[in-house]
Every structure is written in C-alpha cells, then in structure tokens.
Symmetry: C2
Subunit: 339 residues, 2 copies
C-alpha cells in the first residue's frame, strides 16, 4: 500500500499511518517522507477524511464504525462488510458509481479471487450481457497470508531433490502433522481443493464469496455462478479458468477488442507464439492478464478464457487504494461526503 | 503394465514382451517368470490373440494394423486411433460392450485427462442423463512423460530455498531458455494454461481430446463440453474440477450413493473432516477419487465436484490392461474375435 501511495498521483494532503500499539513509533517512508506510525485509537482517527483499512476482519469490524461515526469515509479490504447491502462493494473499473452511495460511510472491496476475474468479466458483461459463470480458481499460497508463503517455501525445501510425490501419502508423511501450515493438505507437489471455511451444502466460504461478490459488483443479483476454489503451489498471483455465458452471441475477435481496450486489463493471447498469462510472469504487476480466449464450440453465447491477477496488488492493496482515490477526488470536488 | 499384469487375475496363457530392438534381450519379471524381451517385428507378432500397445503414437500407427491383419486384437493406449469412428474407444467401467465391435481389430483408450473424470461422470450420467460438462484440469507433469517429471524436479531444485517467485519473470530468468523442459512456461511455482498442440479457434489438442473422447465413450455425439487444460507442479495424478449439468434434477445425497457404489470410484467427501482427494494422496492408486460434491446453487440439475486420478495407472496402463482382459475373457469364451 505504501508503495502504491508513493507511485500514484497525489490526491492526498496529510497521510497518517495507524497500526496496532505494537507497531507504533516505527518510521516508514510514504511519498518520500519519513512518517511515524501511530497507535490506532479514537484520537488518532480524528479529522481523517478517508481511511483505508488493510487489517484483519475483526479489527475492521471493531474500528470502521468508530471512524465512520466521526465522519470519515472508510474503505475496507477485509470481508467484514462485504455482505452488508448498505455497504457498497466496489471495483473502480467496473462500478465506480457505487462508491458514491455509502449509507454507513463504509465502502468494501471484494476478495482476491473475485478481483482476479471481475475486471475482465465486467468488461465483457458490458458488451454481451452476462448470464452465467462457471469458474475454477488456481489460488496462490499468499492468499493465506505470510503463513501460507512460509509454509509453501518450507514444504518445497523438504521435497526438492527427493523422490517424494510418487507414492500415496509420501509427501504428507515427510511433512508431518504440522507441516501443512494454513492449508488443509500438503501444497508442495500437490493441489488442494479447499480454501476458507465450510458452509452449507459442502461449499467453501471462498466459493460462496466469489458468487456473492460477483453478483454485487456487477449488479446482477440473479447471476448464475458456480465457483470451485483450489489452492496451488504458487506463491503469489491467482489464476482463474472462466466459462462465461452471455445473453448475446460472442466472437473471439470482438472479445479481444474489448479486452485490449479495457482499463486494468492486459490481453496476452497468442498461443502460437507461446503468449498466455502465467502467475510467474504476472506476479508483481497491477492489471488483470487475460489469455486463452476461445468461443465455446457448442454454444455461440459462451466464452472460455484464463485470467491471472496478483492477489496482493489488484487482489488487495491496489483495489483499496483505487477506491480511496475515487473518494478523495470526489471529496475534493465538494461532492457528498455521506450520501 | 508389468506390475498390473502380475497383480490382476490370470486370464492369460503365454505373455510375450515386445519392444524396440534397443531393448531386445532384456529380461523382465511378469507374473513371477523371467521373460526375455523380443524385438518388435512381423514374426514376433505372429500367433498373438491380444496385443497391448503402450508405445508412441507413430509406433502404434505403424504396427497396430500389422498385428490386426494377422488376426490379433490390438488394444492401443496412444492417440493414433482415438478419432477413428471404426475403432471403439473403451473405458471398461463405462462402455465395455463397445469393445466387442471392432471392425479393424483395434480398440483404443482415451487420454489421461478424460480417464481422470470419465468413470465418475459415466456413473452419474447413467442415473441423471448428462447434458453439459464444463471442466478445468489440473494436469500433472508426468502427462508429458519422463521428460516432464525430470523438468519439474530440476525446476523445483532451482527454486527451493530461494526468494524466486515474487517478481515478474524471475523464475523464467533463473531457469533460462532451456529450463522449461517440455512445458510452454516454467512449471515450478507456476501453473501453465497450455498442453498439447494448437488447434483451430485457440483450443489445445488436449482440450479438444477431452471433448471428443468424452462424447465417444458416453455415446453422446452432441454432448456440450468445454474443457480447459492447465499444467500444475504436481508429478503424477491429474485433477479435474467438473461442472456437470443433467437432464434431471440432482441431489448430493443421490450422487453420493451412486459414486459410493460405482466400480472404479472412491467417494472421499467429508470436508468437515478434511476428506477430499488430492494428488499427493491419490498417486499410485487405481481408482478415480471423487470429493467436493455440491449441488449448483442456481441450477437444480447441475453438480460441481473434484476428481483425482493417477494418470500413469487408470490414465494409461490400467485402462489398457482392463480392456485387454475383457477381450481375453471374450475370446476364451469363444466370442467373436473380429466382428
């Protein structure tokens, strides 16, 4: 976030850094200025126009209403308010207008898997009218935080240079009971069809989140969405295999035109030249990368495509910063601060 | 294959091992007997009732017709004859009857990605009537042969214990131009949305193979199938995320009953207990493992589920051995050898 704030155009006056008391007193560079971190409390929140929350869900649930009650517009990246119908769920490339209507003074952003696909899907929806999504995610370890990255790196160190991975359960035995880290099974030399918590009907919270968030951001409460979330041994950058069915017939040529000219999207789709997005090439970049665009052979209204998006950038800090910038510009223009 | 022949019930008389002249003279154990490998030629093929071909496509294309012309029933695992409407494409759990009608004396088996999903899908089709499949595959490195396994192991040794994987292209640069092996991009710390050769419309040969083979094995020439094949850093065992839409309404309870009682399928589906299949646990086993069964929230006729199947066992040698055993039993019973 500090990097993004330092790189983007300056729509800010004073930037205040708040954190837990444990981190208070540290000095961090923001836009070239050494800035001391303050402990988060009511006093520190006073007088802030726009507050960006990149904190655990329970911290957001506790402190976002406190800030909002003081007149601050809160932009929260956590899941705390994603289901609240009175909190807009915003992706600036798709539904920027929604950020202006915030009855509680709080704006939320979707989760990182939704953010990996929603910019490309939103652009195609605007042209063709989306009816149905069937998506399978290839989720990176850092979606589970620093513990996920550390666990994958540790597991790879254990399996590299060994014969593990050829006999049932041998990776699991080599890692031991504590070796899977935050994942539900070993991740090195494996894929794990589980992330999040168990919900009704055998669905995971991450899968239901993709459905609910996609519907909210696109403003399509009846959209058919079936998502499967699978963790893969990639450090950072989520990929999603997307089957999208539309109201109107589609062509690859027109889809290419739309994707090539959509803000926040890079079209990278020439398999004859080896051009399609992969996490290892996309990691560390801002846009959603799209490739492997194909028209369904049995349905003139459906497209297949493959997207990659860095789950730590657009999937978290970047989307939050973009929303905050929208609000800052609106406030500077004298727009409604609490409509 | 030798292991499978040694473990299964003996429906064979003499077992003859044929290979390239380079391997001729080696002695291998089959059903406890030391057996000398003979060089493949017309003479060596003479007098064989059932020939199992586990050879490259071009060797099968050259030699299967030679064997068949001598009255041998050929069971071929390669892609050479998969598209030939006069060569039955057989999965014994799904369409065993098809093996009896073989105008050219040749029977083929599908590719390893189709084999990962077809036994479970076929069982559900028999109950509910399949209309549409949308599948995303998580393909293991050994689908690209020994070169794939060696490349992934080498790449993992390069990235383990490093900081690679956090900056765009850093894994690619560390591996160098020759480091990706048979894959279209680095596979360690990555997923690669490409396998096979480029076909019309941006589809890969593997994706079109899943569509054509699934239609043939199920006997549904108009089945809607959209497949996306993605290579993942797993050594062996393909996984597939399946969205299946049926003619009739479905329930998870009934799907569980069907899958739990289908030959060749293991139902492993209790996420509350951490029970779902992963490649690391399934590798080295014969059946198709199925978990994560969910009813689509927006469609009472659709199911989501996740399957894992060892691409070197059911995905290749095992399916071929099962077909050969069907034919051997048929011939022993005096059935038609060339109908």
């Amino acid at each position: 976030m500090l990097q993004i704030l330092s790189q983007h155009a300056d729509v800010w006056g004073e930037i205040r850094l708040l954190a837990s008391p444990r981190s208070a007193g540290r000095k961090l560079a923001v836009r070239g200025a050494e800035t001391e971190v303050l402990a988060l409390d009511e006093e520190a929140l006073r007088g802030i126009d726009v507050a960006v929350f990149l904190v655990p869900e329970e911290v957001a649930a506790r402190w976002a209403p406190v800030a909002a009650a003081q007149g601050t517009v809160v932009v929260d990246a956590s899941p705390a308010f994603r289901d609240d119908p009175e909190v807009p769920l915003v992706v600036p490339e798709v539904n920027p207008h929604a950020a202006r209507v915030r009855p509680h003074g709080i704006i939320a952003g979707p989760g990182c898997t939704t953010l990996a696909l929603i910019v490309a899907v939103g652009a195609l929806h605007a042209e063709f009218g989306l009816e149905e999504l069937v998506v399978s995610a290839y989720q990176a370890a850092s979606g589970a935080g620093q513990a996920g990255v550390a666990a994958l790196r540790g597991q790879l160190a254990t399996v590299a240079g060994t014969d593990l991975g050829a006999a049932p359960g041998d990776v699991r035995r080599a890692l031991g009971d504590d070796g899977t880290g935050p994942f539900a099974a070993p991740l090195a030399l494996n894929v794990v069809p589980w992330s999040g918590t168990l919900q009704d009907g055998g669905w995971s919270s991450e899968e239901l989140g993709v459905r609910a968030e996609t519907r909210r951001v696109l403003g399509l409460p009846g959209l058919r969405v079936a998502a499967t979330c699978v963790r893969v041994p990639v450090l950072t950058t989520h990929s999603v295999s997307v089957h999208a069915r539309f109201e109107r017939p589609v062509t690859v040529a027109r889809a290419h035109e739309i994707l090539a000219t959509s803000p926040g999207v890079v079209l990278y789709d020439d398999p004859a030249a080896g051009d399609f997005p992969t996490p290892a090439d996309v990691v560390g970049t801002d846009p959603t990368w799209v490739g492997r665009v194909r028209r369904d052979l049995d349905d003139e209204r459906a497209l297949e495509f493959f997207v990659c998006g860095d789950n730590l950038r657009k999937g978290a800090a970047l989307n939050t910063a973009q929303i905050a910038e929208l609000v800052a510009v609106e406030l500077a223009a004298g727009g409604p601060s609490r409509t």
